[in-house]
């Protein structure tokens, strides 16, 4: 039974590949992508773009500013999740659970990002910056810490920076989750976080 299934699967594979080989046209070269990056003021552009798509940017000098902000927007009952040790003062104590579902009552998550992209307000995050892949999605609100120097102009530069790095999971996040499926009325907070605030920190983070 299992054998038969495997056979029919490999048949489908051969069938598809043979049909594709028979029908694909003569080889055409892969073009080199040479698209110049605008010479723009990256912080301003990033801030402007992210604000337009519903995010918020705060310029700060260090983690003290972040801690003060977190205190100002949360209550004692709120569950705050982060693996950034400098924020331990405001992080909720929680027993480590291997189940991502255990994060479902997270009010606020604070994560770091590798870099941001000025043209679209996105930040690049890989799973080594996350305790769980689901964290930036399942939290009600999201704060991202970004070194103000870690900005690129556009997506070509972004992928140049990523290079051939290995990651199990990586994502660009640009603003809060949103939908306009009901008569094109924009609503923030579809299934992911309801808000996204980025701290652009000018002092080097380690």
């Amino acid at each position: 039974m299992v054998r038969k299934k495997q056979e029919s699967m490999s048949t489908a594979r051969e069938q598809i590949l043979n049909a594709v080989r028979a029908n694909q046209p003569d080889l055409k070269a892969l073009p080199e992508v040479i698209i110049p990056a605008d010479n723009i003021e990256l912080q301003d552009k990033f801030t402007e773009t992210l604000t337009t798509i519903g995010g918020k940017v705060i310029k700060a000098n260090g983690y003290d500013d972040v801690i003060a902000y977190i205190k100002s927007i949360t209550n004692t009952g709120h569950r705050i999740i982060s693996s950034i040790t400098e924020l331990s003062e405001v992080i909720s104590a929680s027993e480590a659970s291997p189940l991502p579902h255990s994060l479902q009552d997270t009010e606020l998550a604070i994560i770091k990002a590798h870099f941001g992209v000025a043209e679209n307000g996105a930040v690049w995050i890989t799973e080594n910056l996350l305790s769980q892949r689901v964290l930036p999605f399942i939290c009600q609100h999201l704060i991202v810490i970004l070194n103000a120097d870690d900005l690129v102009a556009n997506m070509h530069q972004a992928y140049e920076k990523i290079g051939d790095e290995h990651y199990g999971y990586g994502t660009f996040i640009a603003g809060p989750s949103k939908t306009a499926d009901i008569e094109q009325s924009l609503v923030l907070g579809a299934h992911g976080s309801r808000s996204m605030t980025i701290f652009l920190i000018s002092l080097p983070l380690d």
Partner: protein, 458 residues
């Protein structure tokens, strides 16, 4: 839902009964088209990007078998299980087999036009599996027991009051509440419960990278990620044409996709799946379902470059005023009208005729598919194969006579202008399916031929 032979013009008649709704539909889509224009005009390199994307896709199509094998190898090395499905039935069986092997009877799904094409939901439901669509627009049409009417905006044909009624019926919201904010919040709560309790999640694939074996899924809502990161098994369905050669090519396509679709600079989430998270599985199903055949049709192979942005629909004067359901195919609009006849020329013979050939679709397409030219070519293939839709046969005989004789062309134009000026009802009659529910535009005072004759000497 998918029954006997249907006809675009007839189905458009149904949609056109409510003129106010048609106007609203038309204006909403045009507004999205304008948002696209605004976003595009910000980028001086837009045309270069389109050209580059088109050439990357040319390369993909010319080496597709090689890239598919490379992708498979790399994905397997990353710990992803790869399946191949020659057609829709095989795809649906693989999904069913995976769910059975895990004893799973409930699955959450994010947007995947391929699964619409395969009628996966129906097939699974017939086998006792419950599927919940998690994209808000898709959830809405699922509750309404309708197919999506647009590939990016599944319920663009629905008024908020209708959605309020559906939510009242199925999710217990107060009767008469049609506030988008409130309804979205209700769906958020309802679907959060679903995400937390489903062990299987199915997503589509926007791009699959041959060089790395990773695949990218783009959403604004975050539903694909919520499903995939909470499930034990993540199934990703992709057509063979979703392959791109290198990771850095994503830079080109991600810049084009959402600007073309909605005018946003990028989707909120562009997630790159490379390895399953610990203790879980990722399965990719690579589906042909007619694509390799289309690859062999020289005139139509470019349709496989499509990245499903929906821009050709938003700009199409016929789509905007006839609605997605009139195309009676999972993918509607101009691109659907090129893809469908490849699958069944007889059933979809009417679709390439549902166009004015104005070329607006080709102008906005981010991968430069010659959409309107392909529509025109399909008409000829369909007629040659004897599948012309009945209503169009007589009119087309006349047209081919007119177009093949310059004298008749000029006469036809003059006579046409005469008729439209003095007897527009004769054009706007039942024999002419095109002009149902349409008032003819005012005819120009002189034709191009007359104008040219008068002016070329000057």
């Amino acid at each position: 839902m998918h029954t006997e032979t249907k006809d675009h013009a007839e189905l458009a008649t149904v949609f056109n009964k409510d003129e106010a709704r048609v106007d609203w539909h038309d204006e909403t889509l045009w507004w999205i088209r304008q948002k696209r224009d605004k976003a595009v005009n910000h980028l001086p390199e837009w045309e270069l990007l389109r050209e580059t994307a088109s050439q990357i896709k040319d390369n993909v199509l010319s080496n597709l078998a090689g890239y598919l094998v490379q992708f498979e190898e790399n994905a397997q090395r990353n710990g992803i299980v790869v399946h191949w499905a020659a057609d829709a039935a095989e795809h649906n069986n693989i999904v069913l087999g995976l769910l059975h092997s895990k004893g799973i009877t409930k699955m959450v799904k994010s947007k995947s036009m391929l699964t619409e094409e395969c009628h996966l939901n129906e097939s699974l439901e017939n086998n006792g599996i419950e599927v919940i669509d998690s994209d808000l627009g898709e959830r809405i049409v699922q509750l309404a027991k309708e197919p999506p009417s647009h590939i990016v905006l599944p319920c663009i044909h629905k008024k908020k009051e209708e959605i309020g009624d559906l939510f009242h019926l199925h999710l217990g919201t107060p009767a008469g509440n049609a506030d988008p904010q409130f309804l979205t919040e209700t769906a958020r709560q309802h679907l959060r419960e679903t995400f937390l309790t489903r062990r299987a999640a199915l997503t589509g694939v926007n791009f699959a990278v041959a060089e790395t074996g990773e695949f990218v899924v783009c959403t604004n809502e975050g539903n694909a990620d919520m499903g995939a990161h909470l499930a034990d098994i993540h199934i990703a369905s992709m057509g063979i044409e979703k392959i791109i050669p290198k990771r850095k090519n994503l830079g080109v396509f991600l810049r084009l996709l959402t600007r073309s679709a909605t005018g946003q600079p990028i989707t909120t989430y562009s997630s790159h799946f490379s390895k399953p998270r610990e203790g879980t599985e990722i399965h990719i199903i690579i589906v042909d379902n007619g694509r390799s055949k289309q690859l062999g049709r020289e005139d139509f192979r470019n349709s496989l470059k499509c990245i499903r942005c929906g821009a050709c629909m938003n700009t199409c004067p016929v789509y905007r005023r006839s609605g997605g359901h009139s195309y009676h195919n999972a993918i509607s609009g101009p691109i659907g009208a090129i893809l469908a006849p490849n699958l069944d020329m007889e059933k979809y013979a009417d679709l390439p005729f549902a166009s004015t050939l104005c070329g607006s679709c080709s102008n906005v397409c981010p991968v430069k598919i010659d959409i309107h030219q392909q529509l025109y070519k399909w008409r000829q293939v369909i007629v040659q194969n004897g599948y012309a839709p009945a209503g169009k046969k007589a009119a087309m005989k006349l047209m081919s006579l007119t177009l093949s004789s310059p004298a008749a062309y000029h006469m036809g134009g003059k006579a046409g202008r005469f008729v439209m000026k003095y007897a527009p009802f004769a054009v706007n009659n039942k024999l002419n399916p095109w002009y149902k529910q349409r008032d003819m535009p005012e005819p120009p005072k002189e034709s191009f031929g007359e104008w040219y004759a008068k002016n070329r000497k000057a």
